[in-house]
Symmetry: C2
DNA sequence: TTGAAAGCGCTAACAC
DNA sequence: GTGTTAGCGCTTTCAA
């Protein structure tokens, strides 16, 4: 196989100059080209199987046909799903997707963003939350600013302090919804295992929980953990250790932590949902296969990844899109890990007085 | 912030030509440069925070400082781990990593590889197995060949028909090991749920199982499924439906399928490991948190991803590395899903009595 | 030891 | 409508 065909080959084959060939092949060009000439060029290009060299283009356009996704951890199903959605969408635009795994380390993330900036990627998706730390934010700002200067776009897929365009799940609404589900089953004593307090997603989910609890006149109780399975397990121990009041249900801020929590409960012989109801958040793949299958809030992760990419392309074309922050609706998915609390006297009273037809209202959208 | 500094800025600041500046800054250049000049240039570069433009370099070098990983599905923990290992290693070399998600669709994979080829990526890691289909192989060969022609490297991370350099897990040895573990516990009637027969990884794992069974004089029995959880669940039904001979243990070719199999057993009230021992393969993250925790074969997925990238860099430097196929050792990880077989009677009772009562307990299956 | 000049493959002023 | 020319930012002949 000889060297790949160049634009000059096409031009020669069609008996036109390189410029004309370029124009005839560029669909976005508004420069006039005689229809017959265009045809000839296109035919030649097709015959030679010509494909423009993206690097030469990129050098000239000062921007490469790639987008990047910055995640905390690709092995986390939440981020993996986002990456899947994003790569798919990007490929439909003829863009390649670079994945940067920060390992939750600010320095690593910063190094990546610098490389992205140097490489003039078309756009960057920040899939996870950012630190509030001033030094980090300042340096990040420097890079993202220069990305903006050469025409690159930035979109956040989680709530952040930076005022970027964003495509985020309805964390607060979802948390309220799942808490209300628990309340409607008759639970009053509902604890929450939240994510790290300095992450905005954690805060939003906590706010939803608090709002629902307050509206119901129930007393909230929150403990936090990192987003890991083992963190969830440890937090669950803390919930169980609490003696002031018997907890009958726990809302866990992410499915990963909920999985850890479930395993801890199993270890201790606490039956779910009979002894304790547990609900998660995200609906990562495979929850149908755990025992008991986990009630959770479905976040359209892949769709959010794809929407982020679409947003990026919108920004290229100069349309910022409003609102700046687009919130994606989430669904409550009721499975087997939640049920009415075990009939202690007080609880039974409530159940009989209020028609708790919870299961019929399970899949409302917001 | 003004425009990023160019090599010409550095040259001007150091009072040398851009040629000299380029040479002074290039560590691989063997062209002589007076030490004092070099120092001056380096100082200027540091002062201006100069970073060479990768796109300009790439255009000239006809190769970009990126590698790509082609996976079947990033959401599959197996591939996600490989991606994690690969991106990490690539970043230590200053390379960015492109992720291509084929969705197990040959046409999609082919489109991606073409884009990679056009974009002159430095190297490509094929993380999954390939099809045997001639048309697919021919077209793929065309692309990979031209990748080779411009100096790009290719490495496989799973056994393939193509004669590329490869870094693969010891599928056969691992399968033998886990089957021997089952045999040593006293099992004789061990079924296997294999992967798709046209995937080499499946075949290798099956070969390991068969070898162990044969060596023990035990009769093998294999059924296959795609690599999904639901496929594993269905296959487990088939195992249980088998009546010719009582199965006491099942080796499942991947953890994902094993997870599906476990959920099916739970649904039917078959206790693991008392009624049936189950072992998987891969050791994807989170297996400690399922119930019962799964005995499996640990594949160093992230290490294989990283080794693939190292291999790529070795190939750049012209050292093919031998052997062409490097096999990574795997470990048996014994957890709670395997134990000695129960006395005959009890098992038969459970197995025959369970299926009917099972269906009532399922709710949300997809 | 240094520098001038010619590209890498493409796009876009600016003529004609 | 078409072509000529000048770069995008860098590396590498070739000459001095």
């Amino acid at each position: 196989m000889p060297r790949p065909p160049l634009l000059s080959d096409v031009a020669a084959a069609a008996h036109v100059s390189i410029t004309t060939a370029s124009r005839a092949l560029d669909p976005n060009s508004d420069h006039p080209v005689k229809p017959r000439t265009r045809e000839r060029v296109q035919a030649a290009a097709a015959r030679l199987a010509y494909h423009p060299n993206p690097m030469a283009r990129a050098l000239r356009a000062r921007r490469s046909p790639t987008i990047a996704v910055v995640v905390h951890d690709v092995s986390d199903p939440y981020f993996a799903e986002i990456v899947r959605g994003a790569t798919h969408e990007a490929s439909t635009h003829g863009f390649l997707t670079i994945v940067c795994n920060s390992d939750r380390d600010p320095a690593t993330e910063l190094r990546y963003v610098q490389m992205l900036c140097l490489n003039r990627v078309g756009g960057v998706l920040f899939a996870g939350g950012g630190l509030e730390e001033p030094a980090y934010r300042r340096e990040l700002r420097g890079y993202t600013q220069s990305i903006g200067e050469y025409g690159g776009a930035i979109v956040a897929l989680a709530p952040r302090a930076e005022s970027w365009a964003a495509e985020i799940p309805d964390n607060r609404g979802g948390a309220r919804m799942v808490t209300e589900h628990l309340l409607s089953l008759g639970h009053r004593s509902i604890a929450m295992i939240g994510g790290p307090p300095f992450v905005r997603t954690s805060r939003e989910r906590e706010l939803g929980y608090l709002a629902a609890m307050e509206a119901a006149g129930a007393a909230p109780w929150v403990t936090t953990a990192d987003f890991s399975r083992s963190g969830g397990a440890d937090a669950m121990s803390r919930v169980l250790a609490r003696r002031e009041r018997r907890i009958t249900a726990v809302f866990v801020a992410t499915d990963s932590m909920a999985l850890g929590a479930l395993s801890e409960l199993r270890r201790r012989g606490v039956h779910v949902p009979d002894d304790l109801s547990v609900a998660g958040f995200d609906d990562i793949p495979g929850l149908d296969f755990v025992d008991p299958s986990l009630t959770t809030v479905r976040v359209p992760m892949a769709e959010i990844g794809a929407a982020g990419v679409s947003r990026l392309f919108g920004l290229f074309d100069g349309k910022p899109g409003r609102p700046r922050i687009r919130v994606h609706p989430v669904d409550l998915v009721v499975r087997d890990s939640t049920s009415a609390p075990r009939p202690t006297r007080a609880v039974r009273l409530r159940l009989t007085s209020s028609p708790a037809s919870a299961l019929t209202t399970t899949r409302h959208r917001r």
